[in-house]
Symmetry: none
Subunit: 139 residues, 4 copies
């Protein structure tokens, strides 16, 4: 069994993210995954982009697969940098722009959250609302 | 814009299905999709099989893509019958055993529910709890 | 350049197939492909199943790839027969039930037609209306 | 049931685009999709590139999946910009150069058109002939 977060916790994080998305009036797709990058829960808010179904899932996957927030992957993946080409590896599941975050407990990644549906800064704000809720729950 | 069910309705159907899954003590993965088979919401109950993440999603997809409950597809797909080979078409997304159901409004398919995680009879019972909730909401 | 049928001819075959589909009151997806199985034209009639978009395309592909009507592939693909397992080969593009037909000129396959959207017998009737139109045009 | 454009309308848009392609003497592949990015009709003009079969379909998909003309996606997807890496997400279906356009009715995306086969400026000209026809029909 994977060290993961429960469905109950996942839906709490999603609710916190949805509240932020409503506040900024931008419908989002929000995915919570376990430490192996596999889905715990995913919600597509009414009117959110279709592409975001796949992108939010893969942001969550990427955060688990590389144990890194996705926005930290863009720069090393640029031409001339060390990970140039990263975004086409791992069967196309790696997303290198912001909106995916690991969720940690005692220094270990135990799950992730991935958000897509707006500008990258909006995706990050909404995902961070989920991360904050996670931090409150695990304090 | 797809004529679909809202995220709010989707989570109500999932809650009804989860209640049934808890009653029979078998964790399930439950997906609600729109009429084009794209995800509205998906929940993986704690302890549910990993394979069920994909299978429940594809049961929901299949019910939309063929406007049919998935359990009706098994017999015609058997060797010697008219649709033998159906289960490997459509890029591997067609599931021909039970647990996927269309959700109708005024005779049109407007969404679907797909459940996976137990014996097929259990998957069907849990999905049907979601369908019943749908019928109550649309009466 | 592939020995193929023109777009003009393809749309004539599709029109003949659509007329048959309307006659039997069953909306279909109709694809005409060239001798390499690549698309010339595809029409999804209003209300036709989503799954049929992929299935009709792959019936057309299969008829080109194996130079055979798809309904002749079911029996040899059954358990115990010589091509058992055929339907999962070629990256999942092989369809072994009826509705795909080669279009020949002077004994060579120069294109194909693939139809999906109803019972297999209906798919075949509609595809055969396209084949008949082809035969009229090439007499 | 998807709020979409009919096959009849789709073929009218394709005819308008084909007329433009003939005017500039560059054969194109033209796809019309519904609001979920699924095919309504696709025509490959005689002599059009094989790659354009997939590219035109995915331009139509992208315009639906992100509710945006595809030419607006190039700049934000460049190295150093916010969506760098977008083109490899969503299972490889996102196209970030021009030729895909949403088709709107009362402010909602109800379908899309995607064109490929020439220089991007030519693809855009041909697609825009389809969009203009759409605007005439929905005035």
């Amino acid at each position: 069994m994977v060290d993961s977060i429960s469905l109950e916790t996942a839906t709490e994080l999603i609710a916190a993210a949805e509240a932020k998305a409503e506040e900024i009036a931008n419908p989002m797709v929000i995915t919570v995954a376990n430490s192996e990058g596999n889905l715990v829960a995913q919600h597509r808010m009414d009117g959110a982009w279709l592409a975001s179904v796949s992108i939010s899932r893969n942001k969550a996957y990427t955060s688990a697969a590389l144990e890194t927030p996705t926005h930290e992957l863009a720069e090393p993946s640029e031409p001339g940098n060390s990970l140039y080409g990263l975004q086409t590896t791992d069967e196309g599941r790696i997303v290198i722009f912001g909106g995916g975050y690991p969720l940690e407990r005692d220094g270990d990644v135990v799950g992730t959250i991935g958000v897509s549906g707006g500008a990258v800064s909006q995706d990050r704000d909404v995902a961070e609302a989920g991360v904050e809720r996670w931090n409150e729950l695990t304090e």
